[in-house]
């Protein structure tokens, strides 16, 4: 929770502050999110901070798919008040959401990560994110394109519910065409069923 606080302390949008300050719960609220979405996480538990960090430099303008996911940690000297995309200890450094087989429902364990990114987008209206949907190799390729997009849309819906604007989000599905693990077994498949959060640029 320390890490969470540190990462999000400045980013929690005002809309969340009042209701969340005292209740770090995992409120199930599927109905509100729509059939496809998972448990709504509370972005709760984060105290309201001094939201003065809007000029934080996100310099991820040309990140390619290959380099995303883990930052190199070269500028760890982040202060406690910064919410930095390049801080490897930040929730924002986590940029992959995993899925169950043939499913597009976001598992509740990823709500915190999505919440952090959504909060970041809400705080940085110029930031843009590409949600890249992927599937494992089982089944036909074009169906998996559809499945990857459905996963991307599912994550996008969560982003929206947590304060990001849909204009900051683009969903692109790669289906099974870009696996991160090339084995033909459960462990590889579970790594490949994913949505990658890729920061594009800051307007």
């Amino acid at each position: 929770m320390n890490i969470l606080k540190k990462a999000l302390i400045l980013a929690v949008p005002v809309m969340f502050l009042a209701g969340c300050a005292s209740a770090p719960t995992d409120t199930a609220d599927d109905g509100q999110l729509g059939a496809d979405s998972g448990t709504q996480s509370s972005t709760a538990g984060f105290g309201a901070g001094d939201a003065s960090d809007s000029s934080r430099g996100i310099d991820d303008s040309d990140s390619s798919v290959e380099t995303m996911g883990l930052s190199d940690g070269s500028d760890i000297s982040t202060q406690s008040l910064t919410l930095d995309l390049d801080d490897p200890s930040s929730l924002l450094a986590k940029r992959v959401i995993y899925f169950d087989f043939d499913r597009s429902k976001v598992r509740s364990e990823f709500n915190e990560i999505i919440g952090a990114h959504a909060a970041y987008l809400a705080e940085n209206p110029g930031a843009m994110v590409k949600l890249e949907g992927h599937a494992d190799e089982r089944g036909s390729r074009e169906y998996n394109i559809g499945l990857g997009e459905r996963r991307g849309n599912s994550v996008a819906r969560h982003f929206g519910l947590q304060g990001a604007s849909r204009n900051q989000l683009e969903v692109v599905s790669f289906g099974e065409e870009r696996p991160v693990a090339t084995g033909h077994d459960d462990s590889s498949w579970s790594l490949n069923r994913r949505v990658e959060i890729v920061y594009l640029r800051q307007r």
Partner: protein, 434 residues
């Protein structure tokens, strides 16, 4: 199931002399009752000692690969008659040979060649057919002639058109020196010979589809970081961007008359089937479900489209008429049926049939709904019918590698095309015309 590994040797003869041949073929399952035939090495008349190409070896390999013939190995031949009038039918008959091919390759002037052949009925001692071809002497042209001769023999003896003088397109993925993936769209002869990349990309390529005249391919490229559908002239390389809407641009499929392209777009919210008029680029939306509707294929008459949809929960095959947009479900057996391909006569639909963790190729009779599983691997995908409907080419995994295989429509004969580098996937058999 007993697997008989047959005669790799034959392929060494056929392909061994050419380092360009990136594909070899193994027959992994034999068939009883294949027709015994002998193709005598063609005689050669020309200035050089060696013939530029072994026509008989190519024909032999083709016939063997079809699974319908059992060619006599050259080493078992008692004689190799050059002159059709010198054939001793009794000798061939005693070897169990029913049909015999004798032929000749001649060098003419100006880099022209002539191929002549005669197909004999050994028991009757009579000529079934024979033909003379004159052609320019490029290696490709000579191979093409060998495929044409193979087609004539196939049709004369089996009464159905051969599909040897055709091509196959497919996608390969390999790694460059830096370990980054490289994707290529390849076109090769139907026997795997002479693959040529018509497009190379650092980004995924998908879903090649032949135009009905065999002159163009439509495909999906991610070269701009997002999917787009292009068509490309196979010979000239000239290409045209057809569609790059927001969201999915996928699964292009040419209408039988070549004027329209079915495709999958998600600009309306979820993946749906659309048809684009290629002249005016006007779009017609055929499905409107919230489900994933994808992988359209046209019926031969062009009046309906078969597609994959998970509107019922799991992916199954459906059909929608172009007029009226009436939708009916086609598949009910198995929990996963996707990626349809229709036989040229429209009577059979082949698909990826998933049950448990196995995805195999199955074929269903559209009249009576009978479904037959043709393959026994675990990750088979992308079936595509030969233009004569006799075989289905598909992608599978072998020793952790994507390879291409073909299976006869009755499931009795399977063959594997092994790529020497990288992975091959999404094979599509060309139509007859080139």
């Amino acid at each position: 199931m007993k697997v008989i590994v047959r005669s790799l040797l034959l392929w060494m003869v056929c392909l061994g002399s050419s380092a360009q041949a990136a594909l070899t073929i193994e027959i992994t399952q034999g068939v009883k009752g294949a027709m015994p035939i002998a193709v005598v090495p063609f005689s050669w008349e020309g200035p050089r000692v060696e013939a530029p190409i072994d026509i008989a070896a190519i024909i032999t390999a083709n016939l063997h690969r079809s699974g319908r013939f059992s060619p006599l190995p050259e080493r078992d031949m008692l004689a190799k008659p050059r002159d059709p009038s010198k054939v001793n039918f009794q000798n061939w008959s005693s070897l169990g040979v029913e049909s015999l091919v004798v032929g000749k390759l001649r060098a003419l002037q100006n880099n022209q060649y002539q191929v002549q052949f005669i197909l004999f009925d050994v028991f009757r001692g009579t000529q079934i057919t024979g033909q003379t071809f004159n052609m320019r002497g490029g290696r490709t042209d000579l191979r093409k002639t060998a495929h044409q001769v193979s087609d004539i023999i196939y049709e004369a003896l089996l009464g159905e058109r051969g599909a040897f003088d055709t091509q196959v397109a497919y996608v390969t993925q390999a790694q460059d020196a830096a370990g980054k993936p490289r994707y290529s769209l390849q076109v090769a002869d139907a026997d795997g010979y002479g693959p040529q990349a018509i497009l190379n990309s650092r980004h995924p390529l998908m879903s090649p589809s032949w135009s009905p005249d065999g002159k163009k391919l439509a495909y999906v490229t991610f070269e701009k970081g997002r999917p787009a559908i292009y068509t490309q002239n196979v010979r000239s390389g000239k290409r045209e961007k057809i569609s790059s809407f927001r969201g999915i641009n996928g699964a292009p499929a040419w209408s039988p008359d070549g004027t329209r392209l079915a495709m999958v777009l998600s600009k309306g919210g979820s993946a749906d089937i659309y048809v684009m008029n290629l002249l005016n680029k006007k779009l017609t939306r055929l499905t409107t479900s919230y489900a994933i509707d994808t992988e359209p294929v046209w019926t031969p008459g062009g009046d309906a489209i078969v597609f994959t949809s998970d509107r019922g929960g799991k992916p199954q095959l459906y059909q929608v008429t172009l007029s009226g947009r009436q939708v009916k479900r086609l598949t009910f057996e198995g929990e996963y049926n996707a990626r349809a391909t229709l036989s040229p006569d429209g009577r059979l639909v082949a698909m990826v049939h998933g049950s448990g963790d196995r995805y195999r190729i199955a074929v269903m009779d559209l009249q009576n709904g009978a479904l037959q599983v043709l393959t026994d691997s675990v990750l088979d995908e992308s079936p595509s019918f030969a233009p004569n409907g006799s075989m289905i080419i598909y992608a599978t995994e072998n020793q952790n590698r994507g390879v291409l295989s073909a299976v006869s429509v009755d499931g009795r004969v399977r063959q594997r095309l092994v790529l020497q580098e990288g992975e091959a996937r999404e094979p599509v058999w060309s139509p007859y015309h080139r």
